[in-house]
């Protein structure tokens, strides 16, 4: 049997670059979103989607990979980058009222956005965002859409409509199987993400990006954002940055000096 063309949605988050200092600001302790990029962990999700559709003849064979982000106006950059890497189209959910959304309301809005995309075969996400780092959004989205979820997949294969994935736990690895439609979150073990090439960058300019407001996805402002969220940050304290301590160069007795240090610190 011929494999049917796939409709895949990849979640991509626009996050502050972890290479720079990151700060919480304002009375609600929100993250300062300067110097942001496509989350590096979502590149693995995008790669997983593209590898699967490449196998089935890519966009030419009617396969769709939609990069979906929820975030401020600037977050469209994450979608653009995804289009350059190879996604076929983009969706950007953006609305003032979404600011300050926690996982509960982010997943609510993402679910509403996915519903506007027609029947979806596969949703692929990163293992966690590099800013919130909760790993809550993927499962909450799956729960809202009534989809099975395979989280933390370190490998992912699709055969016909059967998804097989591996999960590596501390003392046991599990092989998991599910039938489309399903949501999968992938780890950085899953693949080696590709980079955008010149052709991809040019092609991206012609690809379509749809912007959706809250009204477009049928949600009211009080269901999301700071008001709709079910958690709140009461206070935040910056930790003093770690500073370098004593650095010695081994002159033949560094192992002994190490033990002296541990003993002085009462660690042995």
């Amino acid at each position: 049997m011929e494999n049917a063309a796939l409709n895949i949605v990849v979640l991509v988050k626009y996050v502050p670059d972890t290479q720079f200092d990151r700060h919480l600001t304002g009375e609600n302790h929100r993250l300062d979103r300067n110097e942001s990029i496509l989350s590096e962990l979502d590149e693995y999700a995008l790669e997983a989607a593209l590898a699967i559709t490449d196998d089935r003849g890519g966009a030419k064979a009617g396969n769709f990979v939609t990069a979906l982000t929820l975030g401020p106006a600037s977050a469209v950059a994450a979608v653009k980058k995804s289009l350059q890497i190879g996604a076929t189209s983009g969706v950007h959910v953006s609305d003032e009222a979404l600011a300050g959304s926690d996982a509960w309301s982010t997943s609510l809005a993402l679910a509403a956005a996915v519903r506007t995309l027609g029947p979806v075969d596969l949703i692929i996400t990163g293992m966690s965002s590099t800013d919130g780092e909760t790993s809550l959004v993927p499962t909450q989205l799956a729960a809202r859409l009534g989809l099975p979820a395979i989280t933390f997949a370190s490998s992912l294969e699709l055969d016909g409509t059967t998804v097989t994935a591996r999960r590596d736990g501390d003392d046991v690895s599990e092989d998991i199987q599910a039938t489309l439609p399903v949501l999968v979150s992938v780890t950085d073990q899953a693949n080696e993400p590709r980079y955008p090439n010149f052709k991809g960058i040019l092609a991206a300019k012609k690809k379509k990006i749809t912007t959706l407001s809250l009204a477009d996805i049928g949600l009211s402002a009080d269901a999301v954002g700071h008001i709709g969220s079910l958690t709140r940050v009461d206070s935040a304290a910056e930790r003093p940055a770690r500073t370098a301590g004593t650095i010695i160069t081994d002159a033949g007795d560094a192992g002994i000096q190490l033990v002296d240090f541990l003993a002085a610190q009462k660690l042995i």
Partner: protein
């Protein structure tokens, strides 16, 4: 008194209470009445231990779906019990499974979820969670604003204590209804790895971690770990190379540890590695390149060859002890 649900997984488990569960019970007791939900059987030993922790009520299910499918059925169990006992909070361990159950219970009960809590305090009935965010650069206090609070709690959030009075828990076997999507991801194979016999990374007081500098030989790191009673960690370069299990990886996409002492060996200290260890109390680094970024955060740094420094330290520790 308000019910605080604590989930304990006994599928493929030992039949006894893990130290993290003991900590959760201690926490629960400080905030209300601990009601325990168990996936799988409740052995006599487990029931007795729960009694020591003051647990009067245990609900458990032995439905086969709990073992045959990925996490979602366990979340159905927890959510249904939490709803039936009108719980004000659900406490879970901060493992990937614990966080996934937290996520699902959050959707099922319209409850705010806080993950990665390092401590939880009860302030007039409200549970306030403290957690470290942005790779350890901030500590925040957060709480749920919903009727039910769901928190996944890291180990060592409190010192586990027995209750003032031991009770004999009432153990009730129940059956729950699973959502159709919960039975969608089937576990078709489980492959166990042999345990190292060393402490678990996230529980250990001392971690000795090795990186690419070990060049395939974890021997020096393991020997130092063993004289210190430490857990062994690794950089992604070392786990990717297959020198040690991926479960040993410390960092952004591995374990986040904050032991009393972290000894970094042959690791350059990339931002993703730092993200998993820079909240350690004391950091020691051994690296032959004085320019390595790890030295910017080390309390004690040794510029030198790990293959000379580590064996010498091991000998010295043994000598002082004999």
């Amino acid at each position: 008194m308000t019910a605080i649900v604590v989930f304990i997984d006994q599928i493929n488990a030992s039949g006894t209470l893990h130290s993290t569960s003991q900590q959760l019970l201690t926490l629960a007791r400080s905030a209300g009445e601990a009601v325990v939900v168990v996936a799988g059987p409740v052995s006599e030993d487990l029931a007795a231990e729960l009694g020591v922790h003051g647990v009067a009520r245990v609900l458990h299910s032995e439905q086969s779906e709990l073992a045959d499918f990925l996490i979602a059925p366990k979340a159905d169990l927890v959510a249904q019990v939490a709803a039936s006992v009108s719980a004000s909070a659900v406490l879970l361990e901060n493992s990937p499974a614990g966080k996934e159950i937290a996520a699902r219970v959050g959707v099922a009960l319209n409850a705010g979820v806080i993950t990665d809590a390092v401590t939880v305090e009860n302030q007039g009935g409200a549970l306030l969670a403290h957690k470290s965010v942005l790779a350890g650069s901030y500590m925040v206090q957060a709480q749920a604003t919903s009727a039910v609070t769901v928190i996944s709690v890291k180990s060592h959030s409190v010192e586990a204590r027995a209750a003032a009075q031991t009770v004999v828990p009432v153990v009730e076997r129940i059956e729950v209804t699973f959502g159709p999507a919960s039975l969608g991801a089937r576990i078709i194979r489980r492959t166990s790895r042999t345990a190292s016999g060393r402490p678990e990374l996230e529980d250990a007081r001392i971690v000795v971690a090795g990186g690419r500098g070990l060049d395939g030989d974890f021997g020096p790191v393991e020997e130092l770990a063993d004289v210190l009673g430490a857990a062994v960690g690794a950089s992604r370069a070392a786990t990717d190379a297959g020198w040690i299990s991926h479960a040993a990886q410390v960092g952004q996409t591995g374990k986040k540890v904050s032991p009393q002492l972290y000894i970094s060996v042959g690791i350059s200290g990339a931002i993703q590695q730092k993200a998993g260890m820079q909240t350690s109390k004391v950091i020691v680094a051994v690296n032959k390149d004085s320019e390595s970024p790890v030295f910017e955060i080390a309390d004690f740094g040794i510029v030198g060859d790990l293959f000379k420094v580590l064996p010498q330290a091991v000998e010295e520790i043994k000598r002082r002890r004999s």
